[in-house]
Amino acid sequence: MGPDGRRAGRSGAIAMAVALALLLAAGVRIAGADGAGPRVQAQLVSELATIEPGGSFWVALRQVIAPRWHTYWENPGDSGEPATIDWSLPAGFEAGPIAWPHPERIPIGPFMSYGYEGEVLLLTRMKAPADLAPGRAVTLRARAGWLVCEKECIPEEAAVELTLQVGPRAARDSRWADAFARAIRAVPMPSPWPAEFTATAAEIEITVAAPGLAADRVADIWFYPREWGVIDHVGLQRAVVLRDGIRLAVARGALSRTAEQPIEGVLVVKERIDGSVTTQAFAIRAVPAGPARLGAGSALALAQAAGLALLGGVLLNLMPCVLPVLSVKALSLVQHAGAAPWVARAHGLAYTAGILVSFGALAGVLIALRSAGEQIGWGFQLQSPIVVAVLAYLLFAMGLSLSGVMTIGGRIAGVGSGLARRPGYAGSFFTGALATVAATPCTAPFMGAAVGFAMTRPVGEALAVFEALGLGLALPYLALSFVPAHHLLPRPGPWMERLKQFLAFPLYASVAWLVWVLSQQVGPAGVAAALAGLVLIAFGAWLHEVSRGAAPRWRRAATAMAALAVVAAVVAGQVGASAGPRAPGPGVARETEPEAFSPARLAELRAQGVPVFVNFTAAWCITCLVNERVALRSPAVAEALAGQGIAYLKADWTRRDPEITRILESFGRSGVPLYVLYPPARGTGAGSGEPAVLPAVLTEGVVLDAIARIRSSAVQ
């Protein structure tokens, strides 16, 4: 836009108004005519109207790009050229490199470009010399060049300039405040998460260790490499949000590079928030994955993943969650030692079948729920407190049986342990199912990589990997059942009874572990309910035992009582489970961290007339995280909050606390982030202190402005 830009640079509001008018006129001209005139209206703008000696400030080459045309990011993709700015600055001024806002992907025919459409501010950090004399004006000049393309490309160039006043104190230029805030926000922030990559001849897989993100909120993920040739720009990027982070598989680019070089680029994540989408950009530097992760640092093929899963399954037998179940199996092995070899083998096969069927069922449910948008993972069933409680009851009942508190006679087949220890093959089958349910929350070496792989693959491949895992789990027992055990074992005798009693203890240990899991999920109330349930189970077991041999009438009554006890235990477990997420305990608040939110605390502070800022957030919310980093944790915001005596509460909705949900709904929101500033409540009269809702995407300025507004209203 050359001439327009030069005019725009003249100082004063009149010149700016003229420039804006020209700009508008130019826009109309481009829209109306076909291809005449420049495609990009460029001008130099500054966040400051008045600069101070020695100060640093942002300036920007502002490009207003004609509709359907685009300019380029620092890596333009398959073709194109990034803009250049050659500065001619007054003595002592220093300009930094262009701070590139994250690009958009712009498909052009079979190619992919990385660039900008509409409007973009290419930021440059400018430093003024300390010996600048206040009261004068300085003019920054630059020769800017860029390539602008629709389908065809036109190189454009412009001389741009900007005149700024020098004063004793810096003063903002309100005209560009919003544009600069947006542009600064669009510059990728250093990734809060480490990243690594593995490479094969065809693909590069980047793993970003961002645990606990909500996959259903992620609308889009794209990795823009800083350099050409690292990845195939136009190739499909397969991104998945796993519980432990983001995994992204991309086709390799033409440039062969050694595997040791880190891959740098920008990860752009679009997150859905209450019907709208926010964009966050993170500067990523992926280092080669350590050999510990995936062996030779190569991405997995299906066969490899299945192999690892098999190995992981075998090792799973040694993990604390499976071991107790195996003690039951060990016992049955001993008990079958005297029988014909084919009996033990048939039991081994039934057990294997039980594992494979239940692995298949769990994997099927997982895949189905996942495709329905549920954010769940392997071991998801133990995220439900009631499942954890029932599993604890089951293992406890089995332990009681081994301890001799109760003898399973096969008459109450409905008791799970009875089912699992039934002499028939169904018993072996259900032991397999039980082993599966108990095993899934545990992870063994080699397993993580295989499961992670399965999560990113089509149904068939995923099932194959999970079944390999199940086969691995079944394998040791299956192998043992094919070895004639009576050669290896001492003769049957009292030692078998003592072994049986001893094997109850691993089961009790598992129960203790499950109660601990519950304590983390539902807090003290839930634990109390579960423990009461365990007492009821023990009571039911005792009743069941003492009524053996009693008159049928008593027997029936005792059975009914026992059943009632079990039902009561499950109900207790259910009540415990709904006891709700535990309140954040003491010691959660750290350093400058905000206080934990509760409606009571909010009411208390407001009753005292204290202004309150509430940050409704969640660990899986990316925008929340970015807002905290770029705005809420900034020293200026901390100072302003403290200076105004504003209490800062953090409402953690990671576990979708129903109390917080209600408050979100009262603000018409169905999710986080939400930022609410409650002004000091004045008196008891009406109109005192309507809460101010801040935008979902925060900048330091937005928060400071909101704080300033409540201050001014408080002064009135």
């Binding site: 398959d78 073709s79 050229e81 992907r105 025919g109 079979p110 992919m112 470009s113 393309c149 389908k151 065809e152 490309c153 190189p155 645990p211 606990g212 996959a215 259903d216 992620v218 609308a219 889009d220 993920i221 040739g229 195939d232 136009v234 499909l236 397969r238 991104a239 998945v240 949000v241 796993l242 519980r243 432990d244 992204l248 033409a254 997982l366 996942r370 495709s371 549920e374 993972g377 392997w378 071991g379 998801f380 133990l382 929350p441 992870t443 397993m447 993580g448 990589a449 992670g452 999560m455 899991v517 983390q520 999920q521 997420p581 535990r582 954040p584 959660v588 953690d652 990671t654 576990r655």
Partner: protein, 216 residues
């Protein structure tokens, strides 16, 4: 980190799971049509295309010779940079005088920028004093796609054994400024010199710069 998260991490998340296919990154866009893009170090894809003289030309015709492929679009500012400064023509003369074959390819589809009739192409060769061995019209883009040509100019060098030894830009100044021709490191010249003297090509793959090839 609050403790509930710790729980999850210890007992559940470590099971490595929790996957939901995150948004179809890229669902809006289909992957590149299966282009068997030529690989440096591998045999150059064979092709036959009509030359502007009317006869078809095959890569196989030039077995035993060094072959340079140049994708072009005479209206592209980056192509014009190299033709209006005489840079491209000088390189063509240099190569062909040393016995190399220089094939200029035009993959612009009919109606797109850079598409020309054989007669127009010959006119351009004359008016620009260009010195290619032949100019090939690849209006369907099959040759371009076999080589993964993305830009104009996009340059390829094939050695006497038919192996692709260079793919990428003409030089290291990815701009359309004519002043940048002077003093640029010319990758094609370097590749030709290396092949002629039996040395490996030091810089074998670079980012081609210019306008996109205007395929169908």
């Amino acid at each position: 980190m609050t403790r509930p998260e710790l729980t999850r991490r210890v007992f559940l998340a470590r099971a490595a799971a929790g996957a939901v296919v995150a948004g179809a990154a890229g669902s809006a866009l289909s992957p590149r049509p299966a282009w068997a893009a030529a690989k440096v170090g591998a045999p150059a894809p064979a092709f036959t295309a009509p030359a502007t003289t009317g006869n078809p030309v095959s890569l196989g015709d030039y077995r035993g010779k060094i072959v340079v492929l140049e994708w072009t679009n005479h209206d592209c500012p980056y192509v014009r940079k190299h033709y209006e400064t005489g840079n491209m023509q000088a390189l063509q003369k240099e190569a062909t005088e040393q016995g190399a074959i220089w094939l200029t390819l035009i993959s612009s589809a009919p109606g797109e920028q850079g598409h020309v009739s054989p007669a127009q192409a010959n006119g351009l060769t004359t008016s620009r004093k260009a010195a290619p061995t032949a100019v090939l019209i690849d209006a369907k883009g099959t040759v371009g796609q076999a080589y993964g040509a993305t830009n104009t100019p996009h340059m390829y060098v094939i050695d006497t054994n038919g192996v692709l030894v260079y793919a990428g830009a003409i030089d290291d100044r990815p701009t359309s400024r004519r002043s940048d021709v002077q003093g640029a490191q010319n990758y094609v010249r370097e590749a030709l010199q290396a092949v002629a003297s039996g040395h490996p090509v030091k810089t074998a793959t670079t980012r081609a710069y210019g306008c996109t090839v205007k395929y169908l």
